[in-house]
Protein backbone atom coordinates (compact mmCIF):
# COMPACT_ATOMS: atom_id res chain seq x y z
CA UNK A 1 0.00 0.00 0.00
CA UNK A 2 2.72 2.40 0.98
CA UNK A 3 4.70 1.72 -2.17
CA UNK A 4 1.53 2.14 -4.19
CA UNK A 5 0.92 5.58 -2.79
CA UNK A 6 4.56 6.54 -3.13
CA UNK A 7 4.28 5.31 -6.71
CA UNK A 8 1.25 7.50 -7.30
CA UNK A 9 3.15 10.44 -5.90
CA UNK A 10 6.08 9.76 -8.21
CA UNK A 11 3.64 9.47 -11.10
CA UNK A 12 2.41 12.94 -10.18
CA UNK A 13 5.99 14.16 -10.36
CA UNK A 14 6.30 12.60 -13.81
CA UNK A 15 3.09 14.27 -14.94
CA UNK A 16 4.65 17.54 -13.95
CA UNK A 17 7.80 16.97 -15.92
CA UNK A 18 6.51 18.67 -19.11
CA UNK A 19 5.56 21.72 -17.05
CA UNK A 20 8.98 21.59 -15.50
CA UNK A 21 10.74 21.39 -18.83
CA UNK A 22 8.79 24.41 -19.96
CA UNK A 23 9.63 26.17 -16.71
CA UNK A 24 13.32 25.54 -17.25
CA UNK A 25 13.22 27.23 -20.63
CA UNK A 26 12.25 30.46 -18.92
CA UNK A 27 15.02 32.29 -17.09
CA UNK A 28 14.42 32.00 -13.36
CA UNK A 29 13.97 35.67 -12.64
CA UNK A 30 11.72 37.41 -10.18
CA UNK A 31 9.76 35.15 -7.92
CA UNK A 32 7.13 35.79 -5.31
CA UNK A 33 6.82 38.78 -3.06
CA UNK A 34 8.05 38.35 0.52
CA UNK A 35 5.86 36.20 2.77
CA UNK A 36 3.17 35.83 0.10
CA UNK A 37 4.09 32.16 -0.32
CA UNK A 38 3.16 31.57 3.33
CA UNK A 39 5.26 29.48 5.70
CA UNK A 40 5.17 25.70 6.24
CA UNK A 41 2.17 24.33 8.10
CA UNK A 42 2.59 21.38 10.40
CA UNK A 43 1.95 18.78 7.66
CA UNK A 44 4.35 20.47 5.24
CA UNK A 45 2.03 22.41 2.91
CA UNK A 46 2.47 26.14 2.36
CA UNK A 47 0.20 27.99 4.74
CA UNK A 48 0.16 29.29 8.26
CA UNK A 49 1.42 27.17 11.14
CA UNK A 50 -1.60 24.89 11.44
CA UNK A 51 -3.57 25.34 8.23
CA UNK A 52 -2.73 25.04 4.56
CA UNK A 53 -3.37 28.12 2.44
CA UNK A 54 -4.31 28.29 -1.22
CA UNK A 55 -0.94 29.88 -2.00
CA UNK A 56 1.70 27.71 -3.62
CA UNK A 57 4.92 27.56 -1.61
CA UNK A 58 8.38 28.10 -3.01
CA UNK A 59 9.72 31.28 -4.46
CA UNK A 60 8.51 30.58 -7.99
CA UNK A 61 6.13 32.57 -10.11
CA UNK A 62 4.62 31.59 -13.43
CA UNK A 63 7.00 29.57 -15.59
CA UNK A 64 9.44 28.82 -12.77
CA UNK A 65 10.02 26.20 -10.14
CA UNK A 66 10.92 26.55 -6.51
CA UNK A 67 11.24 24.73 -3.26
CA UNK A 68 11.93 24.93 0.40
CA UNK A 69 12.73 22.92 3.47
CA UNK A 70 11.54 23.53 7.00
CA UNK A 71 11.95 22.41 10.56
CA UNK A 72 9.31 23.02 13.20
CA UNK A 73 9.37 22.29 16.90
CA UNK A 74 6.38 22.56 19.21
CA UNK A 75 6.84 22.21 22.94
CA UNK A 76 3.56 21.73 24.75
CA UNK A 77 2.59 21.03 28.36
CA UNK A 78 3.33 17.31 28.01
CA UNK A 79 4.82 16.67 24.58
CA UNK A 80 7.42 17.66 22.07
CA UNK A 81 6.25 17.64 18.47
CA UNK A 82 8.60 18.13 15.57
CA UNK A 83 7.86 18.38 11.89
CA UNK A 84 10.31 18.64 9.04
CA UNK A 85 9.93 18.39 5.34
CA UNK A 86 10.55 19.61 1.84
CA UNK A 87 8.38 21.32 -0.71
CA UNK A 88 8.75 21.43 -4.46
CA UNK A 89 6.65 23.72 -6.60
CA UNK A 90 6.31 24.56 -10.23
CA UNK A 91 4.77 27.39 -12.21
CA UNK A 92 3.09 28.86 -9.10
CA UNK A 93 0.54 26.16 -9.85
CA UNK A 94 1.40 22.89 -8.11
CA UNK A 95 3.27 22.06 -4.92
CA UNK A 96 4.41 18.62 -3.80
CA UNK A 97 5.50 18.03 -0.24
CA UNK A 98 7.06 15.27 1.80
CA UNK A 99 7.30 15.62 5.54
CA UNK A 100 7.64 13.76 8.79
CA UNK A 101 5.91 14.52 12.06
CA UNK A 102 7.27 13.13 15.33
CA UNK A 103 5.31 13.12 18.52
CA UNK A 104 7.48 12.58 21.58
CA UNK A 105 5.32 11.51 24.53
CA UNK A 106 8.07 12.32 27.07
CA UNK A 107 6.86 11.56 30.63
CA UNK A 108 3.36 10.62 29.45
CA UNK A 109 4.91 7.68 27.60
CA UNK A 110 6.43 6.48 30.86
CA UNK A 111 3.12 6.91 32.71
CA UNK A 112 1.31 4.87 30.06
CA UNK A 113 3.92 2.13 30.27
CA UNK A 114 5.26 2.85 26.78
CA UNK A 115 8.54 4.19 28.07
CA UNK A 116 9.81 7.73 28.60
CA UNK A 117 10.10 9.54 25.29
CA UNK A 118 8.09 6.98 23.34
CA UNK A 119 7.73 8.62 19.94
CA UNK A 120 5.09 8.22 17.25
CA UNK A 121 6.22 9.19 13.77
CA UNK A 122 4.14 9.99 10.75
CA UNK A 123 5.15 10.47 7.13
CA UNK A 124 3.00 12.79 5.05
CA UNK A 125 3.04 13.14 1.28
CA UNK A 126 1.11 16.11 0.00
CA UNK A 127 0.05 17.69 -3.26
CA UNK A 128 -1.75 20.96 -3.82
CA UNK A 129 -2.90 22.54 -7.05
CA UNK A 130 -4.03 26.10 -7.61
CA UNK A 131 -7.39 26.04 -9.34
CA UNK A 132 -8.13 29.70 -9.86
CA UNK A 133 -7.41 33.24 -8.76
CA UNK A 134 -4.28 34.97 -7.56
CA UNK A 135 -4.36 35.92 -3.88
CA UNK A 136 -1.81 38.68 -4.35
CA UNK A 137 -2.21 40.16 -7.82
CA UNK A 138 -5.99 40.11 -8.31
CA UNK A 139 -6.53 43.11 -6.07
CA UNK A 140 -9.53 44.33 -8.07
CA UNK A 141 -11.51 41.12 -7.68
CA UNK A 142 -13.31 39.47 -4.81
CA UNK A 143 -12.48 35.99 -6.04
CA UNK A 144 -9.85 34.50 -3.73
CA UNK A 145 -7.10 32.16 -4.84
CA UNK A 146 -8.57 28.68 -4.56
CA UNK A 147 -6.54 25.49 -4.34
CA UNK A 148 -7.30 21.87 -3.65
CA UNK A 149 -4.93 19.54 -1.88
CA UNK A 150 -4.40 16.06 -0.61
CA UNK A 151 -2.27 14.75 2.27
CA UNK A 152 -1.55 11.06 2.49
CA UNK A 153 -0.36 10.12 5.97
CA UNK A 154 1.22 6.97 7.28
CA UNK A 155 1.77 6.43 10.99
CA UNK A 156 4.59 4.10 12.11
CA UNK A 157 2.79 2.92 15.28
CA UNK A 158 -0.29 1.39 13.69
CA UNK A 159 -0.39 -1.31 16.40
CA UNK A 160 -0.55 1.23 19.20
CA UNK A 161 -3.06 3.57 17.57
CA UNK A 162 -5.41 0.73 16.63
CA UNK A 163 -5.16 -0.55 20.22
CA UNK A 164 -6.29 2.94 21.27
CA UNK A 165 -9.37 2.60 19.06
CA UNK A 166 -8.29 3.97 15.68
CA UNK A 167 -9.30 1.97 12.63
CA UNK A 168 -6.06 2.43 10.73
CA UNK A 169 -2.55 3.79 10.85
CA UNK A 170 -2.94 5.34 7.40
CA UNK A 171 -5.25 7.95 6.03
CA UNK A 172 -5.75 10.57 3.39
CA UNK A 173 -6.99 14.12 3.98
CA UNK A 174 -8.57 16.16 1.19
CA UNK A 175 -8.90 19.91 1.45
CA UNK A 176 -9.91 23.02 -0.41
CA UNK A 177 -8.44 26.38 0.61
CA UNK A 178 -9.38 29.90 -0.34
CA UNK A 179 -6.91 32.69 0.37
CA UNK A 180 -7.18 36.40 -0.28
CA UNK A 181 -4.70 39.15 0.41
CA UNK A 182 -6.37 42.52 0.91
CA UNK A 183 -3.21 44.39 0.08
CA UNK A 184 -4.49 47.94 0.63
CA UNK A 185 -5.48 46.86 4.16
CA UNK A 186 -2.45 44.60 4.67
CA UNK A 187 -4.77 41.75 5.63
CA UNK A 188 -4.59 38.14 4.50
CA UNK A 189 -7.53 35.82 5.12
CA UNK A 190 -7.70 32.10 4.56
CA UNK A 191 -10.42 29.50 4.95
CA UNK A 192 -9.89 25.78 4.50
CA UNK A 193 -12.36 22.91 4.51
CA UNK A 194 -10.83 19.51 5.17
CA UNK A 195 -12.30 16.05 4.82
CA UNK A 196 -10.40 13.79 7.20
CA UNK A 197 -10.46 10.71 9.39
CA UNK A 198 -7.32 11.72 11.27
CA UNK A 199 -7.13 11.80 15.05
CA UNK A 200 -4.69 14.48 16.18
CA UNK A 201 -3.41 15.09 12.61
CA UNK A 202 -2.94 11.31 12.22
CA UNK A 203 -0.58 10.94 15.19
CA UNK A 204 -3.33 8.90 16.88
CA UNK A 205 -4.35 7.14 13.69
CA UNK A 206 -7.42 7.36 11.49
CA UNK A 207 -11.04 6.57 12.23
CA UNK A 208 -12.32 5.48 15.60
CA UNK A 209 -15.86 5.48 16.89
CA UNK A 210 -16.84 5.73 13.23
CA UNK A 211 -14.78 5.24 10.10
CA UNK A 212 -16.25 8.11 8.13
CA UNK A 213 -14.70 11.26 6.73
CA UNK A 214 -15.40 14.28 8.92
CA UNK A 215 -15.68 17.79 7.52
CA UNK A 216 -13.48 20.21 9.44
CA UNK A 217 -12.83 23.95 9.16
CA UNK A 218 -9.65 25.91 9.39
CA UNK A 219 -9.14 29.64 9.23
CA UNK A 220 -6.22 32.04 9.37
CA UNK A 221 -5.95 35.79 9.48
CA UNK A 222 -2.64 37.57 9.10
CA UNK A 223 -1.81 41.23 9.25
CA UNK A 224 1.26 42.55 7.44
CA UNK A 225 3.18 44.97 9.64
CA UNK A 226 5.93 45.43 7.10
CA UNK A 227 7.35 43.69 4.04
CA UNK A 228 9.08 41.27 6.36
CA UNK A 229 6.81 40.94 9.34
CA UNK A 230 3.35 39.47 9.72
CA UNK A 231 1.28 38.63 12.79
CA UNK A 232 -1.76 36.43 12.79
CA UNK A 233 -3.96 33.82 14.34
CA UNK A 234 -5.41 30.51 13.28
CA UNK A 235 -7.98 27.97 14.27
CA UNK A 236 -8.34 24.37 13.14
CA UNK A 237 -11.18 22.07 14.11
CA UNK A 238 -10.59 18.32 14.24
CA UNK A 239 -12.73 15.20 14.55
CA UNK A 240 -13.45 13.98 18.09
CA UNK A 241 -13.61 10.34 17.18
CA UNK A 242 -11.54 8.35 19.70
CA UNK A 243 -13.47 6.94 22.64
CA UNK A 244 -10.41 6.96 24.93
CA UNK A 245 -9.57 10.67 24.72
CA UNK A 246 -11.45 13.82 23.87
CA UNK A 247 -10.05 15.89 20.98
CA UNK A 248 -10.76 19.58 20.46
CA UNK A 249 -9.84 22.44 18.15
CA UNK A 250 -6.32 23.88 17.91
CA UNK A 251 -5.44 27.58 17.92
CA UNK A 252 -2.34 29.63 17.43
CA UNK A 253 -1.18 33.22 17.40
CA UNK A 254 1.96 33.73 15.33
CA UNK A 255 4.62 36.16 14.24
CA UNK A 256 6.35 35.42 10.92
CA UNK A 257 9.52 37.19 9.94
CA UNK A 258 11.18 37.01 6.53
CA UNK A 259 14.88 37.36 7.33
CA UNK A 260 15.43 37.56 3.58
CA UNK A 261 13.87 36.05 0.49
CA UNK A 262 15.20 32.63 1.32
CA UNK A 263 14.77 32.40 5.04
CA UNK A 264 11.79 32.89 7.29
CA UNK A 265 11.23 32.36 10.96
CA UNK A 266 7.86 31.83 12.60
CA UNK A 267 7.17 31.74 16.31
CA UNK A 268 3.77 31.15 17.80
CA UNK A 269 1.88 30.42 20.92
CA UNK A 270 -0.24 27.34 20.27
CA UNK A 271 -3.13 25.81 22.10
CA UNK A 272 -3.46 22.38 20.55
CA UNK A 273 -6.49 21.48 22.65
CA UNK A 274 -6.70 18.31 24.68
CA UNK A 275 -4.26 15.58 23.56
CA UNK A 276 -4.96 12.43 25.61
CA UNK A 277 -3.96 13.85 29.02
CA UNK A 278 -4.97 17.50 29.14
CA UNK A 279 -4.97 20.76 27.23
CA UNK A 280 -1.67 21.33 25.44
CA UNK A 281 -0.50 24.91 25.33
CA UNK A 282 3.01 25.76 24.27
CA UNK A 283 5.52 27.38 22.02
CA UNK A 284 5.95 26.80 18.33
CA UNK A 285 9.05 27.74 16.39
CA UNK A 286 9.67 27.11 12.71
CA UNK A 287 12.47 27.88 10.32
CA UNK A 288 12.03 27.72 6.55
CA UNK A 289 14.74 27.99 3.93
CA UNK A 290 13.78 28.27 0.29
CA UNK A 291 15.06 28.90 -3.19
Amino acid sequence: MKSLITGAWLAAVMLLTPALAQAQSVPATGGKLLLTGGVSQVEGAAGGGLTPWAVIGGNDSEGQFGGNAYYTEISTTDYKITSRGVLFSVDNRVELTASRQSFDTQAVGAALGLGYGYTINQTTLGAKVRLTGDAVLDQDRWLPQISAGVQYKSNDKAGLVTALGARSGKGTDLYVSATKLFLAQGLLLNATVRRTKANQYGILGFGGIDDRYHTEFEASAAYLLSKRLAVGAEVRTKPDNLAVAHEGAAYDAFVAYAVCKHLSLTVAYVDLGNIVTRRQGGLYASLQAGF
Binding site: A8, G30, D138, I146, G186
Partner: protein
Protein backbone atom coordinates in the same frame (compact mmCIF):
# COMPACT_ATOMS: atom_id res chain seq x y z
CA UNK B 1 -18.48 30.91 3.62
CA UNK B 2 -18.63 30.81 -0.12
CA UNK B 3 -16.01 28.09 -0.08
CA UNK B 4 -18.65 25.60 1.03
CA UNK B 5 -20.11 25.61 -2.43
CA UNK B 6 -16.95 24.20 -3.94
CA UNK B 7 -17.40 20.51 -4.64
CA UNK B 8 -15.33 18.74 -2.02
CA UNK B 9 -15.07 15.45 -3.88
CA UNK B 10 -12.07 16.40 -5.98
CA UNK B 11 -10.39 13.10 -6.65
CA UNK B 12 -6.69 12.74 -6.04
CA UNK B 13 -5.76 11.99 -9.63
CA UNK B 14 -8.15 14.62 -10.92
CA UNK B 15 -6.32 17.29 -8.98
CA UNK B 16 -3.45 17.24 -11.36
CA UNK B 17 -5.54 17.29 -14.48
CA UNK B 18 -7.68 20.31 -13.71
CA UNK B 19 -7.28 23.03 -16.27
CA UNK B 20 -8.20 26.61 -15.61
CA UNK B 21 -11.15 27.93 -17.59
CA UNK B 22 -9.93 29.72 -20.66
CA UNK B 23 -11.78 32.70 -22.00
CA UNK B 24 -10.88 35.82 -23.86
CA UNK B 25 -10.74 38.91 -21.72
CA UNK B 26 -11.00 42.54 -22.64
CA UNK B 27 -8.08 44.60 -21.38
CA UNK B 28 -8.81 46.10 -17.93
CA UNK B 29 -9.40 49.83 -17.76
CA UNK B 30 -6.48 51.99 -16.70
CA UNK B 31 -5.68 51.99 -12.99
CA UNK B 32 -8.41 53.56 -10.85
CA UNK B 33 -8.15 56.69 -8.73
CA UNK B 34 -7.97 55.28 -5.20
CA UNK B 35 -7.99 58.31 -2.90
CA UNK B 36 -10.85 60.69 -2.16
CA UNK B 37 -8.55 63.65 -1.51
CA UNK B 38 -4.88 64.46 -1.95
CA UNK B 39 -3.87 63.22 1.50
CA UNK B 40 -2.35 59.99 0.17
CA UNK B 41 -0.66 61.94 -2.63
CA UNK B 42 0.98 64.14 0.03
CA UNK B 43 2.14 61.04 1.90
CA UNK B 44 4.15 60.22 -1.22
CA UNK B 45 5.68 63.70 -1.15
CA UNK B 46 3.41 65.14 -3.83
CA UNK B 47 4.58 65.47 -7.42
CA UNK B 48 8.22 66.03 -6.44
CA UNK B 49 8.07 62.95 -4.25
CA UNK B 50 6.84 60.84 -7.17
CA UNK B 51 9.64 62.17 -9.38
CA UNK B 52 12.21 61.17 -6.71
CA UNK B 53 10.58 57.75 -6.30
CA UNK B 54 10.63 57.00 -10.02
CA UNK B 55 14.21 58.25 -10.30
CA UNK B 56 15.19 55.87 -7.49
CA UNK B 57 13.04 53.13 -9.00
CA UNK B 58 15.11 53.24 -12.17
CA UNK B 59 18.37 53.25 -10.23
CA UNK B 60 17.19 49.97 -8.66
CA UNK B 61 15.74 48.59 -11.91
CA UNK B 62 18.92 49.26 -13.89
CA UNK B 63 20.96 47.54 -11.18
CA UNK B 64 18.52 44.61 -11.16
CA UNK B 65 19.87 41.89 -13.44
CA UNK B 66 16.53 40.13 -13.46
CA UNK B 67 14.85 42.90 -15.46
CA UNK B 68 17.28 45.61 -16.56
CA UNK B 69 17.53 44.02 -20.01
CA UNK B 70 14.00 45.19 -20.82
CA UNK B 71 14.78 48.88 -20.68
CA UNK B 72 16.39 50.86 -23.51
CA UNK B 73 18.25 53.87 -22.15
CA UNK B 74 16.68 56.33 -24.56
CA UNK B 75 13.15 55.37 -23.53
CA UNK B 76 13.67 55.63 -19.80
CA UNK B 77 13.01 59.39 -19.39
CA UNK B 78 9.65 58.97 -21.13
CA UNK B 79 8.70 55.86 -19.08
CA UNK B 80 9.57 57.77 -15.88
CA UNK B 81 7.41 60.74 -16.90
CA UNK B 82 4.52 58.43 -17.71
CA UNK B 83 4.90 56.54 -14.43
CA UNK B 84 4.81 59.79 -12.46
CA UNK B 85 1.64 60.78 -14.32
CA UNK B 86 0.02 57.43 -13.71
CA UNK B 87 0.93 57.26 -10.01
CA UNK B 88 -0.19 60.89 -9.57
CA UNK B 89 -3.54 60.10 -11.18
CA UNK B 90 -4.04 56.97 -9.04
CA UNK B 91 -3.23 58.94 -5.87
CA UNK B 92 -5.68 61.70 -6.81
CA UNK B 93 -2.88 64.22 -7.22
CA UNK B 94 -4.67 66.08 -10.02
CA UNK B 95 -2.84 64.63 -13.04
CA UNK B 96 -4.16 62.92 -16.13
CA UNK B 97 -2.25 60.00 -17.56
CA UNK B 98 -1.44 60.73 -21.19
CA UNK B 99 0.57 57.63 -22.13
CA UNK B 100 -0.34 54.49 -23.96
CA UNK B 101 -2.52 51.86 -22.31
CA UNK B 102 -0.68 49.12 -20.45
CA UNK B 103 -1.52 46.33 -22.89
CA UNK B 104 -0.25 48.26 -25.91
CA UNK B 105 2.95 49.47 -24.27
CA UNK B 106 3.94 46.04 -22.92
CA UNK B 107 2.49 43.70 -25.53
CA UNK B 108 5.68 42.81 -27.35
CA UNK B 109 7.99 42.64 -24.37
CA UNK B 110 7.33 39.07 -23.18
CA UNK B 111 7.19 40.07 -19.51
CA UNK B 112 6.71 37.15 -17.10
CA UNK B 113 5.03 37.22 -13.74
CA UNK B 114 8.43 37.00 -12.03
CA UNK B 115 9.58 40.12 -13.91
CA UNK B 116 6.45 41.90 -12.75
CA UNK B 117 7.14 40.94 -9.13
CA UNK B 118 10.77 42.02 -9.53
CA UNK B 119 9.65 45.47 -10.63
CA UNK B 120 7.25 45.64 -7.68
CA UNK B 121 10.16 44.80 -5.35
CA UNK B 122 12.25 47.57 -6.85
CA UNK B 123 9.35 49.96 -6.45
CA UNK B 124 9.02 48.91 -2.80
CA UNK B 125 12.71 49.68 -2.33
CA UNK B 126 12.30 53.09 -3.97
CA UNK B 127 9.32 53.88 -1.76
CA UNK B 128 11.19 52.69 1.35
CA UNK B 129 14.08 54.95 0.42
CA UNK B 130 11.68 57.87 0.22
CA UNK B 131 10.08 57.02 3.57
CA UNK B 132 6.64 56.21 2.22
CA UNK B 133 4.85 54.36 5.04
CA UNK B 134 4.21 50.65 4.42
CA UNK B 135 0.40 50.99 4.49
CA UNK B 136 0.49 53.83 1.91
CA UNK B 137 2.83 51.77 -0.31
CA UNK B 138 0.37 48.90 -0.24
CA UNK B 139 -2.49 51.12 -1.33
CA UNK B 140 -0.57 52.11 -4.46
CA UNK B 141 0.58 48.53 -5.09
CA UNK B 142 -2.99 47.26 -4.71
CA UNK B 143 -4.05 49.64 -7.49
CA UNK B 144 -1.14 48.58 -9.72
CA UNK B 145 -1.29 44.82 -9.15
CA UNK B 146 -4.34 44.08 -11.34
CA UNK B 147 -2.45 45.57 -14.29
CA UNK B 148 -0.46 42.33 -14.40
CA UNK B 149 -3.25 41.03 -16.64
CA UNK B 150 -2.39 43.63 -19.29
CA UNK B 151 1.36 43.61 -18.73
CA UNK B 152 2.34 39.97 -18.19
CA UNK B 153 2.78 38.02 -21.40
CA UNK B 154 0.47 35.04 -21.94
CA UNK B 155 2.02 32.37 -24.18
CA UNK B 156 -1.34 31.15 -25.45
CA UNK B 157 -2.92 34.52 -25.87
CA UNK B 158 -5.79 34.56 -23.44
CA UNK B 159 -5.47 32.31 -20.44
CA UNK B 160 -7.44 33.61 -17.50
CA UNK B 161 -5.29 34.84 -14.58
Amino acid sequence: MRILRIPAGLAVGGLLLVTAPVHAETPPPDAPVIARDDHLFKTFGGHDGLVRITDDLFVFVLADRRINGFFEAKKIPHIKDMLVEQFCQILNGGCTYTGKDMATSHAKLGIHEGDFNALVEDLQKAMDKNHVPFAAQNRLLAALAPQHRAIVYKPNGSEEE
